[in-house]
Symmetry: C2
């Protein structure tokens, strides 16, 4: 079998991580890397800042160069957070008869907020016999998939609390700016009122995915966003929050079923939580039969976790039936330490 | 769509639990219950010791009565622990064109120890267009599936420790006898030497499943079994271990990859662990990028967990491609709170 052929669209933090990870794996080749601006024309390894002596060093190019009919088995798309903004790109990949994995948070369960666009993509994917998946660490794993996997061992479920307490300290200047690290409470409230605080994208998708899998009807869904104001000065490699300013964002959501809060989502993200005695971790707490009281501490780091999911789901997407699929349709995610080709069904390979 | 039709073969502790759970669910009917001896001919609810006013109370019957061509969508087989001892039963169900879920520990990854029998069942299942799955809490979830799901968020894995520290106190007299609770150390060693201590069945299956999913070659595999000798008198509802006698069994296994212990399995099971300060729990510890340090405490109770997995995987097995499949081939397990029919693909329904 030919090596699995991958195009990476978007060589930012996520796309670069996917590239570096794939370049260390067996039986898989990066045959295309797409970006814009001054990265175009540069050798990929130069953009990544790392050499991979056993692998081919392709050039970063344009959409026209690398999105061509059956050019690769799959395109990993790392450009957007939303269904609407990634729709045209996904459509173009599908029309060129290649599978898609998207890092867009909303693509993890696109019908939650964009049922019509999802239906269009699903039809188109089926016509072209390819598969589209959105995934990442969250949504896609820690706050939804992992919760569902634990309910598999339960005969009944009464209430679910999914909590992710994470540190923003490993992230760079873009995330510090986006999450309002160091700004005043007034500015936070202004930005929030103007719809300019993104916080966490994905609760609508996580909750709808869990509701549909469990077979419960979501009567009401709402999210909350509050500033985490620090009492002490905090400093991370790329961020700084003086006492009294914003050190992070506390994101919450709830989903009502049968008139009660069935889904409780709790996701405070901040720089240097250890400094104020907060233990970071991923928590799954389920009131059911039996009960679940699970913690992974410290939390799975968001950047690495998303890169891993994008890479590890490649064979599952190639092997899947055609259409728009989600993490509840495919076999379980797991790391791939051997040859990627051993995980691929012969009849699903595009580049023979 | 007709309700999902289920036959339960074996109305012991597991089969009774499956029956009681299914009788509380929507869109699913128990259309057959098979046992031997004096249960045959009795109404199922009498055997279960519980009434279900909205459900039909069938009679417990024989294999001949309920294993008939396309009589049900699936048969849940709760009779054996081993591939060889359940082979003829599974074969008979397949030949009658019904899907199978088996609670036999070895069926969770049957090719680990019985590749030829697995191949025969796989061929036969494909010829009859039905699916066979073995599952349960362990093997099937806590010590293998859950570990793999966590590796999905990792770009690399160096070493895996899967630990399940559980209490045998909820179990009845049969388990107390089988696990040697209260016997002397000498008797334990005699039984062990004579191959009469079963301990935990499933390490070979869990480790081979993980190795195959990750794509690593298992060079060597071995298990260990040691008596847990108590320093203090311990008493559980059905068991008693005086100080100096056996309060449980410590099961271990290791799997070597590239000359190193890659898989470490650790599963001490005993009555009243709390009495000696032991916190029970399910632990997933992975040295990788990033690391995993996860605990669910107390552990998922084995009996309930296995019953849940047998019930919750019913739709996934009905929907699956034909053949012998395992937990790494199917979509993730999750609880089912709604109507079972909503989880079934129309074209895969046997009883239309």
């Amino acid at each position: 079998m030919e090596n699995v052929k991958v195009v990476i669209w978007g060589i930012g933090a996520m796309g670069s991580g996917v590239a570096k990870t794939l370049l260390k794996k067996k039986g898989v080749d990066i045959v295309g890397a797409i970006d814009i601006g001054d990265k175009v024309g540069k050798p990929l390894f130069e953009v990544l800042g790392e050499e991979f002596p056993e692998k081919e060093n392709i050039k970063v190019g344009t959409v026209e160069e690398y999105i061509k009919p059956e050019y690769a088995d799959i395109v990993v798309l790392c450009t957007d957070s939303f269904v609407e903004s990634s729709f045209d790109k996904i459509k173009k990949i599908i029309e060129n008869k290649m599978n898609v994995i998207s890092s867009a948070e909303e693509m993890a369960y696109p019908k939650a907020q964009s049922p019509e666009l999802t239906e269009q993509l699903d039809q188109l994917a089926k016509e072209n016999d390819v598969t589209v998946l959105g995934t990442g660490i969250n949504p896609g794993h820690i706050m939804d998939l992992l919760v569902l996997v634990m309910t598999g061992a339960l005969v009944d479920v009464k209430q679910i609390t999914s909590r992710r307490v994470n540190s923003l300290s490993p992230f760079g200047p873009a995330v510090m700016e986006e999450q309002g690290i160091g700004i005043s409470v007034e500015e936070f409230e202004e930005r929030k009122a103007a719809g300019k605080m993104s916080g966490h994208v994905g609760f609508a998708e996580s909750v709808q995915m869990m509701a549909d899998a469990l077979g419960v009807e979501l009567e009401h869904f709402e999210t909350g966003m509050e500033a985490i104001v620090t009492d002490v000065d905090r400093k991370s490699p790329y961020g700084e929050a003086k006492a009294g300013s914003v050190a992070g964002v506390a994101m919450t959501a709830k989903g009502m079923v049968n008139g009660e809060e069935f889904f409780t989502m709790d996701h405070p993200q901040q720089i240097e939580p250890e400094q104020v005695g907060i233990d970071t971790g991923d928590y799954v707490i389920i009131d059911g039969t039996p009960k679940v009281n699970m913690v992974n501490s410290p939390e799975i780091e968001g950047g690495l976790g998303t890169i891993a999911m994008l890479v590890n789901m490649i064979p599952k997407v190639i092997n899947s039936e055609a259409g728009v699929v989600t993490m509840i349709d495919l076999p379980i995610p797991h790391a791939i330490l051997g040859d990627f080709r051993e995980q691929i069904k012969e009849n699903k390979k595009i580049v023979k």
